[in-house]
Symmetry: C2
Subunit: 311 residues, 2 copies
Amino acid sequence: MKNCEILVIGAGAVGVFFHSRLAKANENAKVSVIARSDYDHVKAYGYNICSPDEDIHFMPSAVFRDVSDYDRKADFVIVCTKVLPGIDIPELIRPAVSEDTSIVLIQNGIDIESGVAAAFPDNELISGIAYVGVARSQAGRIEHTDGGRLKLGVYPQGRSGKLEALAEMYRKSDIPTEIFDDIIRVRWEKLVWNTSYNPVSVLTRSNTAQIMNDPDCETLIRGIMEEICLIAEAAGWKQRDGIVDEMLAYTRQFRPYKPSMLVDYEQGRKMEIEAIIGNPLRTAQHYGIDVPHIQSVYAIIKLLSHSSTKI
Amino acid sequence: MKNCEILVIGAGAVGVFFHSRLAKANENAKVSVIARSDYDHVKAYGYNICSPDEDIHFMPSAVFRDVSDYDRKADFVIVCTKVLPGIDIPELIRPAVSEDTSIVLIQNGIDIESGVAAAFPDNELISGIAYVGVARSQAGRIEHTDGGRLKLGVYPQGRSGKLEALAEMYRKSDIPTEIFDDIIRVRWEKLVWNTSYNPVSVLTRSNTAQIMNDPDCETLIRGIMEEICLIAEAAGWKQRDGIVDEMLAYTRQFRPYKPSMLVDYEQGRKMEIEAIIGNPLRTAQHYGIDVPHIQSVYAIIKLLSHSSTKI
Protein backbone atom coordinates (compact mmCIF):
# COMPACT_ATOMS: atom_id res chain seq x y z
CA MET A 1 0.00 0.00 0.00
CA LYS A 2 1.39 3.35 -1.00
CA ASN A 3 2.39 5.92 1.56
CA CYS A 4 -0.11 8.56 2.61
CA GLU A 5 1.49 11.93 3.31
CA ILE A 6 -0.30 13.88 6.02
CA LEU A 7 0.64 17.34 7.27
CA VAL A 8 -0.90 18.51 10.54
CA ILE A 9 -1.04 22.30 10.85
CA GLY A 10 -1.79 23.63 14.30
CA ALA A 11 -0.16 20.79 16.15
CA GLY A 12 -1.77 21.66 19.46
CA ALA A 13 -3.50 19.18 21.71
CA VAL A 14 -6.28 18.19 19.30
CA GLY A 15 -4.06 17.78 16.26
CA VAL A 16 -1.43 15.76 18.08
CA PHE A 17 -3.92 13.55 19.91
CA PHE A 18 -5.70 12.25 16.81
CA HIS A 19 -2.71 12.02 14.48
CA SER A 20 -0.29 10.39 16.89
CA ARG A 21 -2.81 7.58 17.17
CA LEU A 22 -3.37 7.55 13.42
CA ALA A 23 0.38 7.32 12.76
CA LYS A 24 0.83 4.48 15.26
CA ALA A 25 -1.94 2.36 13.74
CA ASN A 26 -1.25 3.00 10.05
CA GLU A 27 2.23 2.14 8.98
CA ASN A 28 1.83 3.75 5.57
CA ALA A 29 0.69 7.08 7.06
CA LYS A 30 3.56 9.55 7.18
CA VAL A 31 2.44 12.24 9.60
CA SER A 32 4.44 15.46 9.58
CA VAL A 33 3.71 18.43 11.80
CA ILE A 34 4.29 22.16 11.91
CA ALA A 35 5.58 22.99 15.38
CA ARG A 36 6.23 26.58 16.29
CA SER A 37 6.80 27.40 19.93
CA ASP A 38 8.01 23.90 20.81
CA TYR A 39 9.86 23.12 17.55
CA ASP A 40 13.21 22.32 19.13
CA HIS A 41 11.69 20.06 21.75
CA VAL A 42 9.44 18.21 19.31
CA LYS A 43 12.21 17.83 16.72
CA ALA A 44 14.44 16.25 19.36
CA TYR A 45 12.00 14.28 21.50
CA GLY A 46 8.64 14.10 19.72
CA TYR A 47 5.41 14.15 21.73
CA ASN A 48 4.14 12.38 24.82
CA ILE A 49 0.38 11.96 24.96
CA CYS A 50 -0.82 10.94 28.43
CA SER A 51 -4.26 9.31 28.55
CA PRO A 52 -6.04 7.87 31.59
CA ASP A 53 -5.20 4.30 30.54
CA GLU A 54 -2.02 4.63 28.47
CA ASP A 55 0.82 6.95 27.53
CA ILE A 56 1.85 7.21 23.91
CA HIS A 57 5.10 8.50 22.52
CA PHE A 58 4.94 9.89 19.00
CA MET A 59 7.82 10.92 16.76
CA PRO A 60 6.46 12.65 13.63
CA SER A 61 7.69 11.60 10.23
CA ALA A 62 9.03 15.14 9.89
CA VAL A 63 8.83 18.37 11.93
CA PHE A 64 8.79 21.78 10.27
CA ARG A 65 9.04 25.22 11.75
CA ASP A 66 6.96 26.80 9.03
CA VAL A 67 4.55 25.57 6.37
CA SER A 68 6.83 27.02 3.69
CA ASP A 69 9.48 24.52 4.78
CA TYR A 70 7.27 21.57 3.89
CA ASP A 71 8.97 19.67 1.07
CA ARG A 72 6.56 16.83 0.35
CA LYS A 73 3.38 16.37 -1.62
CA ALA A 74 0.57 16.23 0.93
CA ASP A 75 -2.34 13.85 0.41
CA PHE A 76 -4.01 15.53 3.36
CA VAL A 77 -3.35 18.92 4.93
CA ILE A 78 -5.17 18.76 8.24
CA VAL A 79 -5.81 22.08 9.98
CA CYS A 80 -6.39 21.85 13.74
CA THR A 81 -5.81 25.48 14.73
CA LYS A 82 -8.25 27.46 16.76
CA VAL A 83 -10.47 29.74 14.66
CA LEU A 84 -9.32 33.25 15.54
CA PRO A 85 -9.67 36.52 13.64
CA GLY A 86 -5.89 36.94 13.31
CA ILE A 87 -5.27 33.61 11.58
CA ASP A 88 -5.63 33.60 7.77
CA ILE A 89 -6.02 29.88 7.10
CA PRO A 90 -5.78 30.01 3.26
CA GLU A 91 -2.50 31.95 3.43
CA LEU A 92 -1.22 29.72 6.21
CA ILE A 93 -1.73 26.45 4.36
CA ARG A 94 -1.07 27.56 0.77
CA PRO A 95 2.59 26.38 0.61
CA ALA A 96 1.55 22.83 1.46
CA VAL A 97 -1.45 22.52 -0.87
CA SER A 98 -0.81 20.88 -4.23
CA GLU A 99 -3.12 19.65 -6.96
CA ASP A 100 -4.26 16.45 -5.26
CA THR A 101 -4.21 17.65 -1.69
CA SER A 102 -7.37 17.21 0.31
CA ILE A 103 -7.75 19.94 2.89
CA VAL A 104 -9.26 18.85 6.21
CA LEU A 105 -10.49 21.39 8.78
CA ILE A 106 -10.91 19.91 12.26
CA GLN A 107 -12.11 23.05 13.97
CA ASN A 108 -14.90 24.54 16.03
CA GLY A 109 -17.73 26.81 15.01
CA ILE A 110 -19.77 27.64 11.96
CA ASP A 111 -18.90 29.31 8.62
CA ILE A 112 -15.28 28.36 8.98
CA GLU A 113 -14.94 26.67 5.57
CA SER A 114 -15.99 29.27 3.02
CA GLY A 115 -12.69 31.19 2.92
CA VAL A 116 -10.72 28.01 2.29
CA ALA A 117 -13.23 26.74 -0.27
CA ALA A 118 -12.96 30.01 -2.19
CA ALA A 119 -9.15 30.03 -2.06
CA PHE A 120 -8.79 26.41 -3.23
CA PRO A 121 -11.79 25.75 -5.45
CA ASP A 122 -10.19 22.71 -7.10
CA ASN A 123 -9.16 20.88 -3.95
CA GLU A 124 -11.37 18.58 -1.99
CA LEU A 125 -12.37 20.18 1.31
CA ILE A 126 -13.30 17.99 4.27
CA SER A 127 -14.95 19.49 7.31
CA GLY A 128 -14.48 17.79 10.65
CA ILE A 129 -15.54 18.12 14.26
CA ALA A 130 -13.61 16.68 17.19
CA TYR A 131 -15.13 15.48 20.46
CA VAL A 132 -12.23 15.13 22.87
CA GLY A 133 -10.89 16.49 26.13
CA VAL A 134 -7.20 17.31 25.65
CA ALA A 135 -4.82 20.08 26.66
CA ARG A 136 -1.16 20.85 26.13
CA SER A 137 0.54 20.96 29.52
CA GLN A 138 4.11 21.73 28.42
CA ALA A 139 6.35 21.56 25.35
CA GLY A 140 5.71 18.26 23.60
CA ARG A 141 3.30 17.00 26.24
CA ILE A 142 -0.47 16.51 25.80
CA GLU A 143 -2.88 15.52 28.58
CA HIS A 144 -5.90 13.54 27.39
CA THR A 145 -8.78 13.40 29.87
CA ASP A 146 -11.68 11.93 27.95
CA GLY A 147 -13.40 11.27 24.65
CA GLY A 148 -11.77 11.13 21.27
CA ARG A 149 -14.30 10.88 18.43
CA LEU A 150 -14.53 12.50 15.02
CA LYS A 151 -17.34 13.46 12.68
CA LEU A 152 -16.32 14.17 9.10
CA GLY A 153 -17.95 15.14 5.82
CA VAL A 154 -17.10 16.60 2.44
CA TYR A 155 -17.83 20.34 2.35
CA PRO A 156 -20.39 21.62 1.56
CA GLN A 157 -21.96 18.19 1.46
CA GLY A 158 -21.49 14.62 0.29
CA ARG A 159 -18.76 12.02 0.70
CA SER A 160 -15.77 10.71 -1.27
CA GLY A 161 -13.45 7.74 -1.53
CA LYS A 162 -10.60 9.75 -0.09
CA LEU A 163 -12.69 10.75 2.89
CA GLU A 164 -13.61 7.08 3.39
CA ALA A 165 -9.92 6.16 3.33
CA LEU A 166 -9.07 8.84 5.89
CA ALA A 167 -11.93 7.79 8.15
CA GLU A 168 -10.74 4.19 7.91
CA MET A 169 -7.29 5.23 9.11
CA TYR A 170 -8.81 6.95 12.13
CA ARG A 171 -10.99 3.95 12.91
CA LYS A 172 -7.99 1.65 12.71
CA SER A 173 -6.51 3.86 15.46
CA ASP A 174 -9.49 3.20 17.76
CA ILE A 175 -10.93 6.63 17.05
CA PRO A 176 -14.67 6.28 16.49
CA THR A 177 -15.22 8.20 13.24
CA GLU A 178 -18.52 8.89 11.54
CA ILE A 179 -19.04 10.26 8.04
CA PHE A 180 -21.96 12.57 7.35
CA ASP A 181 -23.40 13.72 4.03
CA ASP A 182 -24.57 16.87 5.82
CA ILE A 183 -21.63 17.84 8.00
CA ILE A 184 -22.90 21.42 8.33
CA ARG A 185 -25.98 20.13 10.13
CA VAL A 186 -23.63 18.39 12.55
CA ARG A 187 -21.70 21.64 13.06
CA TRP A 188 -24.95 23.37 14.02
CA GLU A 189 -25.74 20.51 16.37
CA LYS A 190 -22.42 21.00 18.14
CA LEU A 191 -23.14 24.74 18.31
CA VAL A 192 -26.30 24.03 20.29
CA TRP A 193 -23.96 23.02 23.12
CA ASN A 194 -20.99 25.26 22.35
CA THR A 195 -22.75 28.60 21.85
CA SER A 196 -24.57 28.18 25.14
CA TYR A 197 -22.24 26.59 27.69
CA ASN A 198 -18.99 28.11 26.46
CA PRO A 199 -19.74 31.83 26.87
CA VAL A 200 -22.01 31.38 29.89
CA SER A 201 -19.23 29.49 31.69
CA VAL A 202 -16.79 32.32 30.94
CA LEU A 203 -19.16 35.12 31.94
CA THR A 204 -20.16 33.42 35.20
CA ARG A 205 -16.75 31.77 35.92
CA SER A 206 -18.70 28.57 36.48
CA ASN A 207 -18.52 24.95 35.40
CA THR A 208 -21.42 23.00 33.90
CA ALA A 209 -22.71 21.75 37.27
CA GLN A 210 -22.73 25.24 38.77
CA ILE A 211 -24.57 26.55 35.73
CA MET A 212 -27.17 23.76 35.83
CA ASN A 213 -27.73 24.31 39.56
CA ASP A 214 -28.96 27.84 38.86
CA PRO A 215 -32.47 27.85 37.37
CA ASP A 216 -31.99 31.29 35.81
CA CYS A 217 -28.79 30.16 34.09
CA GLU A 218 -30.51 27.01 32.87
CA THR A 219 -33.23 29.25 31.39
CA LEU A 220 -30.51 31.28 29.66
CA ILE A 221 -28.77 28.15 28.32
CA ARG A 222 -32.11 26.87 27.01
CA GLY A 223 -32.83 30.25 25.42
CA ILE A 224 -29.52 30.22 23.55
CA MET A 225 -30.00 26.61 22.45
CA GLU A 226 -33.47 27.31 21.09
CA GLU A 227 -32.17 30.34 19.20
CA ILE A 228 -29.39 28.24 17.62
CA CYS A 229 -32.05 25.74 16.49
CA LEU A 230 -34.06 28.57 14.92
CA ILE A 231 -31.02 29.86 13.03
CA ALA A 232 -29.99 26.38 11.92
CA GLU A 233 -33.48 25.74 10.57
CA ALA A 234 -33.51 29.03 8.67
CA ALA A 235 -30.13 28.13 7.18
CA GLY A 236 -31.55 24.81 5.98
CA TRP A 237 -30.13 22.57 8.69
CA LYS A 238 -33.13 21.86 10.92
CA GLN A 239 -32.15 20.03 14.10
CA ARG A 240 -34.05 17.01 15.40
CA ASP A 241 -36.99 17.59 17.74
CA GLY A 242 -36.14 17.42 21.41
CA ILE A 243 -32.44 18.17 20.93
CA VAL A 244 -32.50 20.98 23.51
CA ASP A 245 -33.99 18.86 26.29
CA GLU A 246 -31.65 16.07 25.33
CA MET A 247 -28.53 18.24 25.60
CA LEU A 248 -29.66 19.74 28.90
CA ALA A 249 -30.29 16.27 30.34
CA TYR A 250 -26.97 15.02 28.98
CA THR A 251 -25.07 17.91 30.54
CA ARG A 252 -26.85 17.51 33.85
CA GLN A 253 -25.31 14.04 34.23
CA PHE A 254 -21.74 15.22 33.49
CA ARG A 255 -19.21 15.36 36.21
CA PRO A 256 -18.63 19.13 36.71
CA TYR A 257 -16.91 20.18 33.52
CA LYS A 258 -15.11 23.36 32.50
CA PRO A 259 -15.89 24.24 28.87
CA SER A 260 -12.80 24.91 26.78
CA MET A 261 -13.60 28.60 26.36
CA LEU A 262 -13.46 29.05 30.14
CA VAL A 263 -10.10 27.26 30.23
CA ASP A 264 -8.85 29.59 27.48
CA TYR A 265 -10.14 32.63 29.37
CA GLU A 266 -8.56 31.60 32.66
CA GLN A 267 -5.23 30.98 30.96
CA GLY A 268 -5.33 34.33 29.16
CA ARG A 269 -5.61 32.72 25.72
CA LYS A 270 -7.77 34.03 22.92
CA MET A 271 -11.31 32.67 22.78
CA GLU A 272 -13.07 31.45 19.61
CA ILE A 273 -15.80 34.05 20.03
CA GLU A 274 -16.51 34.74 16.35
CA ALA A 275 -16.60 31.12 15.16
CA ILE A 276 -18.85 30.01 18.00
CA ILE A 277 -21.04 33.04 18.77
CA GLY A 278 -20.46 35.85 16.25
CA ASN A 279 -20.97 33.74 13.11
CA PRO A 280 -24.31 32.24 14.21
CA LEU A 281 -25.44 35.74 15.29
CA ARG A 282 -24.59 37.12 11.84
CA THR A 283 -26.42 34.20 10.22
CA ALA A 284 -29.48 35.09 12.34
CA GLN A 285 -29.23 38.71 11.24
CA HIS A 286 -28.94 37.59 7.60
CA TYR A 287 -32.22 35.68 7.92
CA GLY A 288 -33.89 38.37 10.03
CA ILE A 289 -34.24 36.14 13.09
CA ASP A 290 -34.40 37.74 16.54
CA VAL A 291 -31.92 36.05 18.89
CA PRO A 292 -31.73 38.29 21.98
CA HIS A 293 -30.02 35.76 24.26
CA ILE A 294 -27.20 35.20 21.79
CA GLN A 295 -27.00 38.94 21.09
CA SER A 296 -26.64 39.67 24.80
CA VAL A 297 -23.98 37.06 25.40
CA TYR A 298 -22.01 37.99 22.27
CA ALA A 299 -21.91 41.70 23.05
CA ILE A 300 -20.75 41.05 26.60
CA ILE A 301 -18.08 38.44 25.95
CA LYS A 302 -16.63 40.32 22.98
CA LEU A 303 -16.17 43.54 24.97
CA LEU A 304 -14.95 41.59 28.01
CA SER A 305 -12.31 39.90 25.85
CA HIS A 306 -10.94 43.33 24.93
CA SER A 307 -11.10 44.72 28.43
CA SER A 308 -7.95 43.42 30.09
CA THR A 309 -6.11 46.64 29.33
CA LYS A 310 -9.01 48.92 30.04
CA ILE A 311 -10.47 51.36 32.59
CA MET B 1 -39.71 76.92 64.67
CA LYS B 2 -39.72 73.63 66.47
CA ASN B 3 -36.88 71.18 66.07
CA CYS B 4 -37.10 68.49 63.44
CA GLU B 5 -35.55 65.20 64.55
CA ILE B 6 -34.01 63.26 61.68
CA LEU B 7 -32.32 59.88 61.97
CA VAL B 8 -30.21 58.72 59.02
CA ILE B 9 -29.84 54.95 58.84
CA GLY B 10 -27.19 53.67 56.48
CA ALA B 11 -24.87 56.63 56.94
CA GLY B 12 -22.78 55.79 53.91
CA ALA B 13 -21.77 58.26 51.24
CA VAL B 14 -25.29 59.05 49.99
CA GLY B 15 -26.84 59.47 53.43
CA VAL B 16 -24.05 61.65 54.76
CA PHE B 17 -23.78 63.80 51.64
CA PHE B 18 -27.41 64.95 51.61
CA HIS B 19 -27.96 65.23 55.35
CA SER B 20 -24.75 67.01 56.24
CA ARG B 21 -25.87 69.75 53.83
CA LEU B 22 -29.42 69.64 55.23
CA ALA B 23 -28.14 70.00 58.81
CA LYS B 24 -25.86 72.92 57.87
CA ALA B 25 -28.63 74.87 56.19
CA ASN B 26 -31.45 74.17 58.62
CA GLU B 27 -30.70 75.16 62.18
CA ASN B 28 -33.79 73.44 63.55
CA ALA B 29 -32.92 70.11 61.89
CA LYS B 30 -31.27 67.74 64.37
CA VAL B 31 -29.62 65.10 62.25
CA SER B 32 -28.50 61.96 64.06
CA VAL B 33 -26.83 59.02 62.38
CA ILE B 34 -26.29 55.33 62.93
CA ALA B 35 -22.60 54.64 62.33
CA ARG B 36 -21.35 51.09 62.52
CA SER B 37 -17.86 50.40 61.24
CA ASP B 38 -16.63 53.97 61.77
CA TYR B 39 -18.60 54.72 64.97
CA ASP B 40 -15.58 55.70 67.09
CA HIS B 41 -14.17 57.96 64.40
CA VAL B 42 -17.48 59.68 63.62
CA LYS B 43 -18.38 60.07 67.30
CA ALA B 44 -15.03 61.81 67.89
CA TYR B 45 -14.47 63.73 64.66
CA GLY B 46 -17.69 63.74 62.62
CA TYR B 47 -17.56 63.62 58.83
CA ASN B 48 -15.58 65.42 56.17
CA ILE B 49 -17.34 65.71 52.83
CA CYS B 50 -14.99 66.75 50.03
CA SER B 51 -16.64 68.24 46.95
CA PRO B 52 -14.95 69.70 43.87
CA ASP B 53 -15.60 73.26 45.06
CA GLU B 54 -15.78 73.00 48.85
CA ASP B 55 -15.08 70.76 51.83
CA ILE B 56 -17.72 70.47 54.52
CA HIS B 57 -17.25 69.28 58.06
CA PHE B 58 -20.33 67.79 59.70
CA MET B 59 -20.80 66.81 63.33
CA PRO B 60 -24.11 64.96 63.74
CA SER B 61 -26.50 65.95 66.47
CA ALA B 62 -25.98 62.46 67.88
CA VAL B 63 -24.18 59.31 66.76
CA PHE B 64 -25.49 55.85 67.63
CA ARG B 65 -23.92 52.47 67.21
CA ASP B 66 -27.25 50.72 66.80
CA VAL B 67 -30.82 51.80 66.00
CA SER B 68 -31.95 50.37 69.36
CA ASP B 69 -29.77 53.00 71.07
CA TYR B 70 -31.78 55.83 69.51
CA ASP B 71 -33.47 57.73 72.34
CA ARG B 72 -35.40 60.45 70.56
CA LYS B 73 -38.71 60.73 68.75
CA ALA B 74 -37.91 60.84 65.05
CA ASP B 75 -39.88 63.05 62.73
CA PHE B 76 -38.09 61.39 59.82
CA VAL B 77 -36.27 58.09 59.70
CA ILE B 78 -34.31 58.26 56.48
CA VAL B 79 -32.98 54.96 55.12
CA CYS B 80 -30.01 55.26 52.74
CA THR B 81 -28.71 51.68 52.86
CA LYS B 82 -28.07 49.63 49.77
CA VAL B 83 -30.88 47.22 48.95
CA LEU B 84 -29.38 43.79 49.58
CA PRO B 85 -31.07 40.47 50.31
CA GLY B 86 -29.47 40.19 53.76
CA ILE B 87 -30.82 43.51 55.08
CA ASP B 88 -34.30 43.40 56.66
CA ILE B 89 -35.24 47.09 56.57
CA PRO B 90 -38.43 46.87 58.69
CA GLU B 91 -36.59 45.08 61.51
CA LEU B 92 -33.63 47.41 61.16
CA ILE B 93 -35.63 50.62 61.57
CA ARG B 94 -38.36 49.42 63.97
CA PRO B 95 -36.74 50.75 67.19
CA ALA B 96 -36.68 54.28 65.77
CA VAL B 97 -40.19 54.41 64.33
CA SER B 98 -42.85 55.97 66.52
CA GLU B 99 -46.42 57.04 65.86
CA ASP B 100 -45.67 60.23 63.95
CA THR B 101 -42.48 59.15 62.23
CA SER B 102 -42.33 59.50 58.48
CA ILE B 103 -40.17 56.82 56.92
CA VAL B 104 -38.08 57.93 53.93
CA LEU B 105 -36.36 55.42 51.66
CA ILE B 106 -33.62 56.97 49.52
CA GLN B 107 -32.59 53.83 47.72
CA ASN B 108 -32.12 52.27 44.31
CA GLY B 109 -34.30 49.86 42.42
CA ILE B 110 -37.92 48.88 42.19
CA ASP B 111 -40.33 47.15 44.63
CA ILE B 112 -38.25 48.27 47.58
CA GLU B 113 -41.14 49.87 49.51
CA SER B 114 -43.74 47.16 49.92
CA GLY B 115 -42.11 45.40 52.89
CA VAL B 116 -41.82 48.65 54.84
CA ALA B 117 -45.34 49.72 53.91
CA ALA B 118 -46.73 46.42 55.17
CA ALA B 119 -44.72 46.56 58.42
CA PHE B 120 -45.70 50.16 59.21
CA PRO B 121 -49.18 50.64 57.73
CA ASP B 122 -49.94 53.68 59.87
CA ASN B 123 -46.76 55.64 59.14
CA GLU B 124 -46.24 57.90 56.19
CA LEU B 125 -43.82 56.35 53.72
CA ILE B 126 -41.81 58.57 51.38
CA SER B 127 -39.93 57.09 48.47
CA GLY B 128 -36.87 58.88 47.18
CA ILE B 129 -34.27 58.61 44.48
CA ALA B 130 -30.82 60.18 44.66
CA TYR B 131 -28.79 61.42 41.70
CA VAL B 132 -25.28 61.95 42.99
CA GLY B 133 -21.72 60.73 42.55
CA VAL B 134 -20.28 60.06 46.01
CA ALA B 135 -18.10 57.41 47.63
CA ARG B 136 -16.72 56.77 51.12
CA SER B 137 -12.94 56.82 50.88
CA GLN B 138 -12.09 56.17 54.52
CA ALA B 139 -13.63 56.35 58.00
CA GLY B 140 -15.61 59.59 58.26
CA ARG B 141 -14.58 60.81 54.83
CA ILE B 142 -16.85 61.16 51.78
CA GLU B 143 -15.69 62.10 48.27
CA HIS B 144 -18.29 63.92 46.20
CA THR B 145 -17.56 64.00 42.47
CA ASP B 146 -20.75 65.28 40.87
CA GLY B 147 -24.48 65.83 41.01
CA GLY B 148 -26.62 65.89 44.10
CA ARG B 149 -30.34 65.99 43.31
CA LEU B 150 -33.33 64.26 44.85
CA LYS B 151 -36.71 63.13 43.60
CA LEU B 152 -39.28 62.38 46.28
CA GLY B 153 -42.89 61.26 46.52
CA VAL B 154 -45.33 59.74 48.96
CA TYR B 155 -45.63 55.99 48.48
CA PRO B 156 -47.51 54.58 46.67
CA GLN B 157 -48.53 57.97 45.29
CA GLY B 158 -49.45 61.50 46.22
CA ARG B 159 -47.85 64.20 48.31
CA SER B 160 -48.14 65.58 51.83
CA GLY B 161 -47.35 68.62 53.91
CA LYS B 162 -44.62 66.78 55.73
CA LEU B 163 -43.01 65.79 52.44
CA GLU B 164 -43.20 69.42 51.31
CA ALA B 165 -41.46 70.50 54.51
CA LEU B 166 -38.70 67.92 54.05
CA ALA B 167 -38.21 68.93 50.41
CA GLU B 168 -37.98 72.54 51.49
CA MET B 169 -35.18 71.68 53.91
CA TYR B 170 -33.23 69.96 51.12
CA ARG B 171 -33.78 72.92 48.77
CA LYS B 172 -32.55 75.31 51.45
CA SER B 173 -29.35 73.24 51.41
CA ASP B 174 -28.86 73.83 47.67
CA ILE B 175 -30.03 70.34 46.85
CA PRO B 176 -32.41 70.52 43.86
CA THR B 177 -35.40 68.49 45.04
CA GLU B 178 -38.49 67.62 43.04
CA ILE B 179 -41.72 66.16 44.35
CA PHE B 180 -43.68 63.71 42.22
CA ASP B 181 -47.22 62.41 42.67
CA ASP B 182 -46.12 59.28 40.83
CA ILE B 183 -42.72 58.48 42.30
CA ILE B 184 -42.90 54.86 41.13
CA ARG B 185 -42.93 56.05 37.53
CA VAL B 186 -39.73 57.96 38.32
CA ARG B 187 -38.22 54.81 39.82
CA TRP B 188 -38.93 52.98 36.56
CA GLU B 189 -37.37 55.86 34.64
CA LYS B 190 -34.18 55.55 36.65
CA LEU B 191 -34.22 51.79 36.02
CA VAL B 192 -34.09 52.40 32.28
CA TRP B 193 -30.53 53.58 32.87
CA ASN B 194 -29.62 51.46 35.90
CA THR B 195 -30.77 48.05 34.70
CA SER B 196 -28.85 48.48 31.45
CA TYR B 197 -25.54 50.22 32.17
CA ASN B 198 -24.93 48.82 35.64
CA PRO B 199 -24.81 45.08 34.88
CA VAL B 200 -23.31 45.51 31.40
CA SER B 201 -20.46 47.55 32.86
CA VAL B 202 -19.76 44.83 35.42
CA LEU B 203 -19.95 41.96 32.94
CA THR B 204 -17.70 43.70 30.40
CA ARG B 205 -15.46 45.51 32.95
CA SER B 206 -16.09 48.64 30.92
CA ASN B 207 -17.09 52.23 31.53
CA THR B 208 -19.92 54.00 29.71
CA ALA B 209 -17.70 55.28 26.89
CA GLN B 210 -16.25 51.84 26.20
CA ILE B 211 -19.74 50.37 26.14
CA MET B 212 -21.07 53.04 23.77
CA ASN B 213 -18.09 52.56 21.46
CA ASP B 214 -19.14 48.96 20.82
CA PRO B 215 -22.19 48.77 18.53
CA ASP B 216 -23.14 45.30 19.81
CA CYS B 217 -23.09 46.54 23.39
CA GLU B 218 -25.13 49.56 22.44
CA THR B 219 -27.67 47.18 20.89
CA LEU B 220 -27.74 45.22 24.14
CA ILE B 221 -28.17 48.40 26.23
CA ARG B 222 -31.01 49.49 23.96
CA GLY B 223 -32.61 46.04 24.21
CA ILE B 224 -32.59 46.17 28.01
CA MET B 225 -33.93 49.73 28.05
CA GLU B 226 -36.81 48.83 25.73
CA GLU B 227 -37.66 45.83 27.88
CA ILE B 228 -37.76 48.00 31.03
CA CYS B 229 -40.16 50.35 29.23
CA LEU B 230 -42.41 47.40 28.33
CA ILE B 231 -42.48 46.20 31.94
CA ALA B 232 -43.09 49.69 33.31
CA GLU B 233 -46.01 50.15 30.94
CA ALA B 234 -47.52 46.81 31.93
CA ALA B 235 -47.18 47.80 35.59
CA GLY B 236 -49.08 51.04 34.88
CA TRP B 237 -46.11 53.40 34.70
CA LYS B 238 -45.71 54.04 30.99
CA GLN B 239 -42.54 56.00 30.20
CA ARG B 240 -42.48 58.96 27.84
CA ASP B 241 -41.91 58.32 24.14
CA GLY B 242 -38.31 58.63 23.04
CA ILE B 243 -36.85 58.01 26.50
CA VAL B 244 -34.52 55.27 25.23
CA ASP B 245 -32.95 57.39 22.50
CA GLU B 246 -32.74 60.27 24.94
CA MET B 247 -30.86 58.24 27.56
CA LEU B 248 -28.50 56.77 24.97
CA ALA B 249 -27.71 60.24 23.63
CA TYR B 250 -27.31 61.61 27.16
CA THR B 251 -24.87 58.83 28.10
CA ARG B 252 -22.92 59.24 24.87
CA GLN B 253 -21.96 62.78 25.94
CA PHE B 254 -20.78 61.74 29.43
CA ARG B 255 -17.16 61.80 30.28
CA PRO B 256 -16.27 58.07 30.62
CA TYR B 257 -18.12 57.02 33.73
CA LYS B 258 -17.98 53.88 35.88
CA PRO B 259 -21.48 52.88 37.03
CA SER B 260 -21.73 52.29 40.78
CA MET B 261 -22.32 48.56 40.36
CA LEU B 262 -18.95 48.22 38.61
CA VAL B 263 -17.29 50.14 41.45
CA ASP B 264 -18.95 47.80 43.96
CA TYR B 265 -17.82 44.75 41.97
CA GLU B 266 -14.24 45.94 41.67
CA GLN B 267 -14.07 46.65 45.40
CA GLY B 268 -15.52 43.26 46.30
CA ARG B 269 -18.73 44.76 47.72
CA LYS B 270 -22.19 43.29 47.27
CA MET B 271 -24.12 44.50 44.23
CA GLU B 272 -27.80 45.56 44.26
CA ILE B 273 -28.68 42.85 41.76
CA GLU B 274 -32.18 42.03 42.98
CA ALA B 275 -33.44 45.62 43.41
CA ILE B 276 -32.12 46.71 40.02
CA ILE B 277 -32.41 43.59 37.82
CA GLY B 278 -34.17 40.75 39.65
CA ASN B 279 -37.24 42.75 40.71
CA PRO B 280 -38.02 44.13 37.23
CA LEU B 281 -37.49 40.62 35.80
CA ARG B 282 -39.99 39.19 38.27
CA THR B 283 -42.44 41.98 37.42
CA ALA B 284 -42.07 41.02 33.75
CA GLN B 285 -42.75 37.38 34.59
CA HIS B 286 -45.79 38.42 36.64
CA TYR B 287 -47.23 40.19 33.60
CA GLY B 288 -46.12 37.49 31.14
CA ILE B 289 -43.74 39.77 29.27
CA ASP B 290 -40.75 38.27 27.47
CA VAL B 291 -37.55 40.15 28.42
CA PRO B 292 -34.69 37.99 27.10
CA HIS B 293 -31.98 40.64 27.37
CA ILE B 294 -32.75 41.26 31.03
CA GLN B 295 -33.09 37.52 31.65
CA SER B 296 -29.65 36.90 30.13
CA VAL B 297 -27.92 39.64 32.07
CA TYR B 298 -29.63 38.72 35.35
CA ALA B 299 -28.73 35.03 35.14
CA ILE B 300 -25.11 35.82 34.37
CA ILE B 301 -24.47 38.53 36.95
CA LYS B 302 -26.24 36.64 39.72
CA LEU B 303 -24.14 33.49 39.21
CA LEU B 304 -20.99 35.58 38.72
CA SER B 305 -21.63 37.33 42.05
CA HIS B 306 -21.60 33.94 43.78
CA SER B 307 -18.58 32.64 41.94
CA SER B 308 -15.63 34.10 43.82
CA THR B 309 -15.29 30.96 45.91
CA LYS B 310 -16.03 28.59 43.08
CA ILE B 311 -14.46 26.13 40.60
